[in-house]
């Protein structure tokens, strides 16, 4: 049987199954969106009137909110499998690569959904003047994708630990830090700079480079995490 096409259909089956489960139980979605909306609204209140707040603070705050919302939800895809004892069913039927790619896709889409809700609300409540909308959208899409790529394998590790507690946040932060810092930097350029694209090209390249490094690295170690 053809192996490369093998993991592609496996990944899509896992992805579809996870969304079906998610729409029925709303475990991850609920946690993520609730966290994001609450913290955006709280920031809006705390920083009112937002016109006096420096843009640097606003860029950092946006990504801090996005990161912590991700921490609230991105480990669910693996934790749920272990908690409901379905991980073994999955191991019997699907290759580790198929599982990882499926879960990664799920987390990426979750992040995009999160940003779709959070970012417009944030811009509205904190009165951010965006100079280059096209650059901003690109940074948000790449940045949230990179965050999903950085934390998916960490979620698999956390799911296997005996005591999970705040483990996911603690373990994710160092791995997610590079894309986080670069996304903040790029966002600043999109909001403030005149020749924004020129300023931020390096940031976008770094984000893409990070994804291209961390995904293969994750694939390499995932089998060791996933198989007992």
């Amino acid at each position: 049987m053809n192996r490369s096409s093998g993991w592609v259909h496996e990944a899509f089956a896992v992805f579809a199954k996870d969304w079906l489960l998610e729409l029925r139980t709303r475990v991850a979605l609920g946690a993520v969106v609730l966290f994001a909306v609450t913290s955006v609204v709280a920031s809006g209140f705390a920083l009112a009137p937002p016109s006096g707040v420096p843009a640097e603070v606003k860029t950092a705050l946006l990504w801090v909110v996005v990161f912590f919302a991700a921490v609230a939800g991105l480990s669910r895809v693996f934790v749920v499998e272990e908690e409901t004892r379905t991980a073994d069913s999955l191991r019997l039927a699907v290759s580790p690569t198929g599982v990882f790619v499926g879960k990664l896709l799920f987390n990426a889409v979750l992040m995009w959904g999160l940003c779709l809700v959070t970012v417009p609300l944030y811009l509205l409540l904190l009165e951010v003047p965006v100079r280059s909308a096209s650059l901003f959208v690109t940074v948000v899409v790449l940045g949230s994708t990179a965050l999903a790529c950085a934390t998916t394998a960490v979620g698999a590790i956390v799911a296997k630990a005996t005591t999970r507690g705040a483990l996911f946040g603690v373990l994710s932060f160092p791995v997610a830090l590079p894309p986080l810092l670069v996304a903040i930097h790029g966002t600043k350029a999109a909001w403030l700079s005149g020749g924004a694209w020129r300023v931020a090209t390096g940031d976008l390249q770094v984000l893409v480079g990070f994804i291209l490094v961390i995904v293969p690295a994750s694939l390499l170690v995932f089998e060791h995490i996933w198989s007992e």
Binding site: A150, K160, R164, G165, L167, L171, P174, G202, V206
Partner: protein
């Protein structure tokens, strides 16, 4: 390391320390030329932190391939030493920064890199504490180390893009950067610290082996047996 080695290392480090104060000239051009001597202690600690991080990643990789308990112990020992040297580098760096720039913390890229390495080590230890079964603990922490490694390389590479540096660039290896007397003292101290590193590393492994031997005395323990079997390698 045998007794002679330990004594020699001790004399060597003591000698370099004395030389750093008596032989090394004060570094002109710094706000406090006398205080600048700390550089010869600070830089080796910082370099060793990165070395330990690399050693940890290498043993983590080897562990995933061999699944040998002793290899996991080596990865862990490297991380523990890395944490120790990271603390030393941060303390010595902060002392110098206080003298030179008037504040202990400046969000300089290298300062930040070291602190991020400390965060990774801390996360690594938290993870090890959160998994009970030994082989699982070894597997998961090795996997984490191998995820954190490329992320840290990225971070160290991008930080200078994002924040400005107080550190001089590329002084360690280039001829023009550092006064020869400083370069000699600094690398001599590094050699001494490296010997300490190796010594502590092996000491840590001996503790691990002693624990395994104890466990084996109390009940037949296959993991301990495998650990001990690796002793001769």
């Amino acid at each position: 390391m045998n007794t002679t080695g330990k004594i020699l290392t001790g004399i060597w480090i003591a000698g370099v320390t004395v030389a750093a104060f008596l032989w090394l000239p004060p570094a002109q051009g710094f706000r406090s030329p006398e205080a600048a001597r700390i550089v010869v202690f600070h830089v080796p600690c910082a370099v060793l932190t990165f070395v330990a991080f690399l050693v940890n990643a290498v043993y983590s990789w080897l562990y995933l391939r061999s699944r040998h308990p002793l290899t996991d112990a080596k990865a862990n020992a490297a991380a523990e030493l890395g944490m120790l040297f990271a603390v030393l580098a941060t303390v010595t760096g902060s002392l110098f920064a206080m003298e030179q720039w008037g504040s202990a913390w400046n969000w300089d890229p290298r300062e930040t890199s070291i602190v991020m390495l400390m965060l990774v080590y801390a996360a690594y230890f938290v993870l090890r504490g959160a998994v009970e079964e030994k082989s699982k603990r070894a597997r998961l922490s090795a996997a984490y180390a191998l995820l954190a490694f490329p992320a840290m390389v990225f971070l160290i590479w991008i930080l200078p893009r994002i924040v400005e540096s107080l550190h001089p660039t590329n002084t360690l290896f280039s001829r023009s950067g550092l006064d020869p007397s400083y370069r000699i003292t600094l690398w001599s101290f590094f050699a001494g610290l490296l010997a300490v590193f190796v010594w502590m590393f092996r000491l840590r492994l001996r503790v691990e082996l002693a624990e395994a031997r104890l466990r084996q005395q109390h009940h037949h323990d296959a993991v301990a047996e495998v650990t001990l079997a690796g002793e001769t390698r």
